[in-house]
Symmetry: C2
Subunit: 150 residues, 2 copies
Amino acid sequence: MANAKITEKDDFDLRNFLPFLLNQAAEESSLEFQQVYKNRYGMLRTEWRVLFHLGNYGEMTAKEIGERAKIHKTKISRAVHKLEQRRYLTRTRDDKDRRVERLTLTANGAAVYRELRGIAEEYDAKLAAHFTRGEAALLRMMLRRLAGME
Amino acid sequence: MANAKITEKDDFDLRNFLPFLLNQAAEESSLEFQQVYKNRYGMLRTEWRVLFHLGNYGEMTAKEIGERAKIHKTKISRAVHKLEQRRYLTRTRDDKDRRVERLTLTANGAAVYRELRGIAEEYDAKLAAHFTRGEAALLRMMLRRLAGME
DNA sequence: GCTTGTTAGTTACAAAATCAACTATTATCC
DNA sequence: GGATAATAGTTGATTTTGTAACTAACAAGC
């Protein structure tokens, strides 16, 4: 492996750079789960995220989901449209404020959510098994802090 | 905030799901740095990654970069093309195996690398400052393990 | 109450990522 | 040594994302 250093003192190591590490870990740890919602349900990442938000937190608006998960409103819009087509969710106009749409899972959508949630739980346990209980708890805490989810 | 639970026993919380947390943290912690290489140098994510690999590890082939950073070869190919156009790197055919191209940064590319590396170091320090030294070291270790970079 | 500004969500167009098929070169195996 | 398979990298077609402009509904100021 080539190893010519660009400058004399170069103690920087990409393999320690947090944004890079976080990306690699996120990528790697999403892959296996992605297979499931992609291959088994033909869903895109944003779609399962919307589904999980509705399943996990109950009725929400597109805007609320976007704020929590930091997803742009156009992505949400498209994901909601697709989930609606597949009869995973329904929209109802808010009568107080007719700009707003309240989103809720259908029985069908809720069933898919429950199935995926089960797989997610197993998968999360498998990832956490790389560490001690304490380490895993600390990891989650640190990630929440980095994500600004405190 | 709506909070109707879908099932009776629903102890799953999206905010603790590692793939989700990792993604959120990765996204959030890339944003600020992304502004720099994007706005100041007009580079895409894959482009700075290729640049950083060459700067950090010296001469490499497209394939090697792809393996290390888990980037698909078509993305690398296009990133290399663009970095070549901007005279940040040069390619030379390997005479032992004429399928292979050895990539190296130009003086110009190395200068840009050094500038970005400095910013990356500062930024990494800022992120790590959320934690104690020990915690930060543990975090990096855990991320490397999750990323399969052990 | 009417102009001006905001907000929720959609749509159109441009940019980028993905996937499959392709060229060129080297390795394998009979 | 010649057919077959594998590898490095590229290209084109399709899908997905990002950006900006848009509609529709509400809010505030006067």
